[in-house]
């Protein structure tokens, strides 16, 4: 819906990565509090109120915005913890609050009018009707698109809605519709919606067995590695399983998202902002990825061709396999 310059939204898991992302050219950074109110509730990560206030000052001084993810679903009888997180974010001067739960959206809409409200990917709003509901009820100004839509579908969607859209372009890739996946709690008792975690590390074991290493999550074998094979983290939906007598990466290969080649297409589709996943990532990684995407977005804005964009983003793979995910219809 916008013909302006696309905004690059970058992850900040810690105050140090916030500064790194800003220095590397992020138009906006997103972060969360050190509790279960955000979907990256990992040890050693996230912000206190004081750190957020300082981070907002730093970002604003350098011309960047700060968005605060309060995007898990509030626990019964503890909704105040989520409301208080929203209050703190607003008090710290955050430019936007990213939320998914109706209770949180309603609270922000009623109490923090000046703070922009963005709909988290965890809300999984993929239709004009769903997005329209959140826009008319809570004044949502931007929706982070679920990773199920092709570029063609995003183009069609943007013609039917009057809020901004933000699309993931790089980083971890959920193969399930985010916010609608309970696989992790089924195996481990902890899930993104309930606890802000998926396939939690305390439930992971690596066992050496019969000339192979077995990665298990809560006792379920997620993958098995032969000697010399790189050992991965047993994220539930990226494991090898057997069905119909065939063993395969049934849900998704151990790949990450790289839609760098789709930046121009997403711009043409009317997408306002591009998002990089990875609040769990360190300063070095964030600096490198943000710098590369800054260059790539600027090149697209200046009419650069696909070869130039590919050259800029070459090397942003950490040797791992990548996919453009659902943006390419054949992924389905």
């Amino acid at each position: 819906m916008t013909s302006g310059r696309m905004e690059l939204v970058c992850p900040a898991g810690t105050p140090a990565t916030l500064r790194a992302a800003v220095q590397a050219g992020a138009d906006a950074v997103y972060c969360g509090f050190r509790d279960e109110t955000n979907a990256r509730n990992f040890p050693g990560l996230n912000f206190s109120a004081a750190e957020l206030a300082e981070g907002v000052r730093y970002a604003h001084d350098h011309g960047s915005k700060v968005m605060v993810a309060i995007n898990t679903f509030a626990r019964v009888n503890d909704v105040d913890l989520w409301k208080k997180a929203a209050d703190t974010a607003a008090e710290c001067g955050a430019n936007a609050i990213i939320a998914a739960d109706i209770a949180v959206l309603d609270h922000v809409a009623k109490n923090h009018g000046p703070t922009r409200l963005h709909l988290s990917v965890q809300a999984a709003a993929a239709t004009p009707e769903a997005i329209g509901f959140y826009a008319s009820r809570f004044g949502v100004r931007r929706v982070v698109l679920p990773r199920v839509l092709s570029v063609q579908e995003i183009t069609a969607l943007n013609r039917l809605i009057d809020v901004e859209t933000e699309a993931f372009v790089f980083g971890g890739l959920c193969v399930m519709i985010e916010g609608r996946c309970y696989l992790s709690s089924y195996a481990t008792g902890k899930s993104p919606n309930l606890n802000g975690v998926c396939s939690p590390p305390e439930m992971v074991t690596y066992d050496d067995e019969a000339n192979s290493t077995v990665a298990r999550l809560s006792g379920f074998t997620i993958d098995r590695y032969e000697p010399g094979e790189p050992v991965g983290y047993p994220t539930l939906c990226k494991g090898r399983f057997t069905a119909s007598g065939k063993t395969s990466y049934l849900f998704e290969d151990p790949v990450s998202l790289n839609a760098g080649g789709m930046i121009a297409g997403l711009k043409a589709a009317g997408v306002t902002a591009l998002k990089i996943e990875g609040r769990q990532r360190g300063r070095g990684y964030v600096t490198e990825v943000v710098r590369a995407f800054r260059k790539a977005v600027d090149a697209v804005e200046q009419g650069g061709d696909a070869i130039e964009i590919d050259r800029i983003l070459a090397g942003q793979s950490e040797g791992a396999r990548q996919t453009a995910g659902a943006y390419n219809k054949k992924w389905r």
């Binding site: 019964v76 009888n77 609608r180 089924y186 049934l250």
Partner: protein, 299 residues
């Protein structure tokens, strides 16, 4: 008599029109269930097959005195799917909302929120009650204590829990049946029809784990929560949901009815269920606030 009502949820699987007709005929004639959900919720591509069968099924169920609820798609995407949701929402019958897409057209008229809608707390529940939610069946990962917390704070709605069937754990934009068969969703050849209870997924160590059903992932194990009726009434739960499988669902319904009426005790009900031809072993961990895969009642 506990006063707790029995619901038959929508069929998640791609059953042929004949199978659907036969199934609901028996439910209408024999099952002690007062509310029956009908309609496709998992994949809009299946709707052209089942759509012609519904009017007769609905008539049959209503003639037998069942309350029919029209379930809507959990992840509508195409223009046709969105229109189907909107059309169903204009119906005078009760409608099950499984995605926010249905809310604009259903607000102000009574609806059920299904387990695909993220209702995790009393504030969200209350917001939806004000829009017309009469019955709330929260996501399956919530504990009975959490559902009780919501029910206690929201006297304006009836709360329902998913007690029987493979647990609906995830939805995707990608069709796993198509992927397993080397196809894409857009040209899937409806291979999901071959697995009327879903396709079992095992780990590399042959542990039964999950089941796939097109774009849906379910548990391999069967939720089979058999509480004492007072455990439900004390939490404000007014309704329990059975999810259709190919096993004898009339027997399942009768077993739960006996449990709710105090004729069968929890252990006995569980034993009866375990004797049926089920696609997976029995679990009930979620209700106890534990991993869903766990079984706690027996201990």
């Amino acid at each position: 008599m506990s006063g707790i009502a029995l619901t038959l949820g929508p069929v998640f699987f791609h059953w042929s029109p004949d199978r659907l007709s036969d199934f609901y005929r028996r439910i209408a004639d024999e099952a002690p269930i007062d509310r029956v959900h009908v309609g496709e919720v998992v994949c809009g591509k299946r709707m052209p097959f089942s759509d012609p069968a519904w009017p007769e099924i609905i008539e049959r169920l209503e003639r037998a005195g069942k309350q029919v609820v029209l379930s809507t798609l959990a992840a509508p995407a195409t223009v046709r799917e969105r229109r189907s949701v909107e059309d169903l929402c204009t119906d005078e019958r009760l409608v099950e909302v499984n995605d926010v897409t249905a809310l604009p057209s259903r607000s102000g008229k009574p609806f059920v929120t299904g387990p695909f809608l993220n209702v995790y707390n009393e504030a969200s529940a209350q917001y939806l009650i004000e829009l017309g939610a009469q019955t709330i069946c929260p996501p399956v990962e919530l504990s009975l204590a959490a559902v009780g917390g919501m029910a206690g704070a929201c006297p304006g709605a009836e709360f329902e829990v998913f007690v029987f069937g493979r647990l609906p754990l995830a939805l995707s934009g990608r069709c796993y049946h198509a992927r397993i068969h080397g196809l894409h969703k857009d040209s899937c050849q409806f291979t999901c029809e071959k697995d009327p209870d879903g396709l079992a997924v095992e780990t590399l160590d042959d542990q039964p784990f999950l089941a796939v059903n097109g774009v849906q992932t379910l548990s391999n194990q069967m939720q089979a929560f058999c509480p004492a009726p007072t455990d439900l009434t004390s939490k404000g739960v007014g309704r329990i949901r059975l999810s259709p499988h190919t096993c004898d669902m009339v027997e399942v319904a009768k077993t739960y009815k006996s449990l709710l009426d105090g004729i069968e005790d929890p252990k006995g009900a569980r034993f009866v269920l375990s004797c049926l031809d089920l696609p997976g072993s029995l679990v009930d961990g979620y209700f106890h606030g534990k991993p869903g895969r766990r079984t706690l009642t027996e201990k």
